[in-house]
């Protein structure tokens, strides 16, 4: 059961920069919104100002230079750590100077745009990885993110908007946050702001209205954000209940229960496997269970064509990036191999893609479904269809 797949490198240890181990990990607070312009940055900076007034050592690690005037006004009196300049293909880009912030060692650091992708040539690919480093160095971080950047909602957002959001944050990263707060504004108020030029300027306004800023889309994104925040709040209650034994003052709290739910996702080289992995992981998270990803190959992985193998490898890497452990099993018969492994792992549900109509002839397809159901009669077998917008 060996795997020849590479794992993504872990983010560099902050010790290398600071030269000492932080005595505590920093706390992360996320201001969650459902679109640009709802006031996330404004609320975050308001809180930073509040902290500064209380005598806390706060710095601004990154804020959008194109921010709105009333937001920029909120920077007054706050120390801003200068951004660092990175040259890429002859152009100059500015990114957060994570190393400088770690050296500066504030108590709290404000970092806008959690989902941002750094320009090539930066130490880390994603800003959330920079934030992880700050937290490891013992710095508390306030940050902002919009709901469409959450990895597990990527397919639903695609369905609503027809836009495939590329800058995503894995759910496990958001789950690290000590707090997730929703910054809410009604869609109508947001559209008013947009029309007044308070969100974007010039042509960008019209373009925005074609995409995310349709009223129905905003309403749907807002609902997703409300539900997600409720879920984050609920998860933290469960964690808190597990950490401390029940205090006599809270007798109404239910005792913590460990779920025995285990979701196995059957990963194939198809590109839609990414959506399948997201779905399996999301369901497992909500059932407070675990999720594993399994690929099945014949005698040798080498039996796959190089292209298929690369595609499979990509999907397995994707799973690992979502913190879904991966396994490669060898089996002559896929259904038998899957179910045997599932039973060993005490799996309760199997998630797989719908058999593609074109590639699987009917009798074979029906046999596969039949075999899975027969062998895994004590399990649930879920076929996941891709979520795509109606054309």
């Amino acid at each position: 059961m060996s795997s020849s797949f590479r794992t993504e490198p872990e983010p560099a240890d902050s010790d290398a920069i600071s030269g000492e181990k932080a005595t505590r990990t920093g706390k992360l607070k996320i201001f969650l919104g459902y679109a640009a312009g709802v006031g996330k940055t404004f609320q975050m900076l308001t809180e930073a100002q509040q902290l500064r007034r209380e005598g806390v050592d706060v710095v601004v690690g990154y804020f959008e230079p194109h921010a709105r005037p009333d937001t920029i006004a909120l920077l007054e009196g706050l120390e801003v750590v200068p951004r660092r300049v990175i040259e890429y293909r002859g152009a100059r880009f500015e990114e957060m100077d994570t190393e400088a912030i770690v050296r500066r060692r504030p108590t709290v650091c404000v970092v806008d745009e959690f989902a941002h992708t750094n320009v090539p040539g930066s130490e880390r690919g994603k800003r959330w990885q920079d934030v992880m480093l700050l937290l490891e160095a013992g710095i508390d971080v306030l940050t902002t993110v919009n709901i469409q950047h959450l990895e597990s909602l990527n397919d639903q957002v695609y369905c609503m908007t027809g836009i495939r959001v590329r800058e995503t944050v894995p759910d496990w990263v958001v789950q690290q946050a000590a707090e997730v707060v929703m910054v809410d504004l009604t869609p109508r108020a947001l559209l008013n702001r947009l029309d007044r030029g308070a969100v974007y300027q010039g042509e960008k306004v019209e373009r925005a209205k074609q995409n995310f800023f349709k009223e129905s889309t905003l309403v749907a994104l807002r609902e997703l954000a409300l539900r997600e925040t409720a879920f984050e709040v609920e998860s933290r209650q469960a964690l808190a209940a597990e950490e401390k034994p029940l205090s006599p003052a809270a007798p109404e709290t239910e005792p913590p229960q460990r779920s025995t739910e285990r979701v196995l996702v059957y990963v194939t080289p198809e590109p839609s496997a990414a959506a399948l992995i997201r779905r399996g992981k999301r369901v497992a998270d909500h059932l407070k269970g675990e999720c594993i990803a399994v690929a099945v190959c014949g005698k040798e992985l080498a039996e796959l064509s190089p292209r298929q193998r690369a595609a499979l490898e990509k999907n397995m890497n994707f799973a690992r990036n979502l913190h879904v452990p991966t396994h490669v099993i060898k089996a002559e018969n896929v259904a038998e191999g899957l179910i045997d492994f599932a039973r060993q792992q005490r799996v309760t549900q199997i998630y797989l893609l719908r058999p593609a109509v074109s590639r699987w002839r009917l009798p074979f397809r029906r046999n596969f479904v039949e075999q899975l159901a027969r062998l895994g009669r004590d399990m649930e077998i879920t076929f996941v269809a891709e979520r795509a917008p109606l054309s």
């Binding site: 129905s216 539900r227 003052a249 719908r354 109606l390």
Partner: protein
């Protein structure tokens, strides 16, 4: 848009105009929902009133809570206030004065309030209804514990009973709802409620539970807004913002297990659950009573059961799923080799292929 097929009929246009006129004649209701005192609902409401006034709208304050912080006082200085009037020694919103003054927007702080005997209406939310009917828009605030249907739930968390309440249906009729969200610690420091307990951790846990309920209530209101919006615009696709599970019952399936599992998923996702069965002709007496037993399980759990016509099983199920925005279909999968079971297998196979944008979950039996 604009193609002959989508051009509205004169009747549709008339209805649309009527609906628009009615919409124009009644005021808009906007609710700031909080889960505890001190989260800043009143501030947000008054601040919105101030901004609207600056933009040229005619705004008045119809009611304000008795305790006013210096922060609120500053905002109130920018606004016109219609004083409360006293009835039997109790302050009441002066509906007649507001109707005479007839502003565009009236701010009503504290929607949950019972008027004393002899007032125009028994409850303040009825006063608000009257303002709305007169074409005055209302912006108001309410705490979760005063939402009638949530009272019991909130009482077990807070251990405290409140006497006044507002029906949830009234909140659901709002044009806009905003949750005033803040981290659980935040209102703790600002709350001046007399019942604030010294045990901070317990208090925080309670607040976090209330916060979750408030967010989910708002999500439900928003979901209905979305639904009606999509209906008005003739959209057929559901976006899966909420998980909705459809359990398909037949005589042979293990309904107990399927429904139990569906309930778990529903509860964990705060979604909805539907049960259907497809009417089959010529059921044996044995199958008929098995079906009855299975349906009884659903009814016992209080889940609505719908009968689908069996012209084409797959089409019926998919049609129902689309109408109800289903995201997951639970269906039994027979392992027996009988002709009926083979027929079922074909159905399952076709269903898997037809279920665009949904999950199909098989329960072998």
């Amino acid at each position: 848009m604009g193609t002959p097929a989508t051009r509205p009929t004169p009747e549709q246009l008339l209805r649309q105009v009527e609906a628009q006129e009615e919409y124009a004649q009644t005021g808009r209701l906007k609710v700031f929902l909080g889960y505890a005192s001190g989260v800043g609902k009143s501030y947000q409401m008054l601040d919105e009133g101030r901004r609207r006034r600056e933009r040229g709208q005619d705004v008045v304050v119809g009611a304000i809570q008795p305790e006013i912080s210096p922060e609120l006082m500053k905002l109130l200085a920018h606004l016109e206030i219609i004083p409360l009037k006293m009835i039997e020694g109790n302050p009441v919103m002066d509906v007649d004065a507001i109707l005479r003054r007839h502003p565009q927007v009236c701010l009503v702080d504290g929607l949950a309030y019972d008027n004393p005997y002899g007032s125009r209406n028994a409850h303040r939310w009825q006063d608000v209804e009257q303002l709305l009917a007169a074409g005055i828009s209302v912006i108001t605030t309410i705490n979760l514990q005063y939402v009638d249907e949530r009272r019991a739930q909130v009482e077990t968390i807070r251990g405290k009973r409140v006497n006044v309440s507002v029906p949830e249906a009234f909140l659901r009729s709002a044009d806009e709802i905003v949750v005033v969200d803040a981290p659980a610690e935040f209102p703790l420091a600002r709350s001046h409620e007399p019942d604030a307990q010294p045990n901070a951790a317990t208090q925080q846990h309670k607040l976090s539970q209330l916060r979750e309920i408030a967010l989910l209530l708002a999500a439900d209101v928003v979901d209905r807004q979305l639904e009606s919006y999509l209906e008005r615009n003739g959209a057929t696709q559901s976006w899966g913002t909420q998980e909705r599970i459809l359990v398909c019952i037949s005589p042979k399936v293990n309904a107990e297990r399927m429904i139990r599992r569906a309930q778990l998923v529903r509860d964990r996702f705060h979604g909805e659950l539907f049960v259907v069965y497809v009417g089959e002709e010529n059921l044996s007496a044995e199958d008929q009573s098995a079906l009855e037993r299975n349906l009884e399980i659903a009814r016992r759990e209080g889940i609505p059961v719908e009968l689908l016509d069996a012209e084409d099983t797959v089409e019926e199920i998919i049609g129902f799923a689309h109408r109800h925005g289903i995201t997951q279909i639970f269906i039994g999968h027979s392992l027996s080799g009988s002709w009926r079971a083979r027929l079922t297998k074909t159905t399952v196979d076709r269903l898997i292929r037809a279920a665009e944008g949904m999950d199909v979950k098989l329960f072998p039996h």
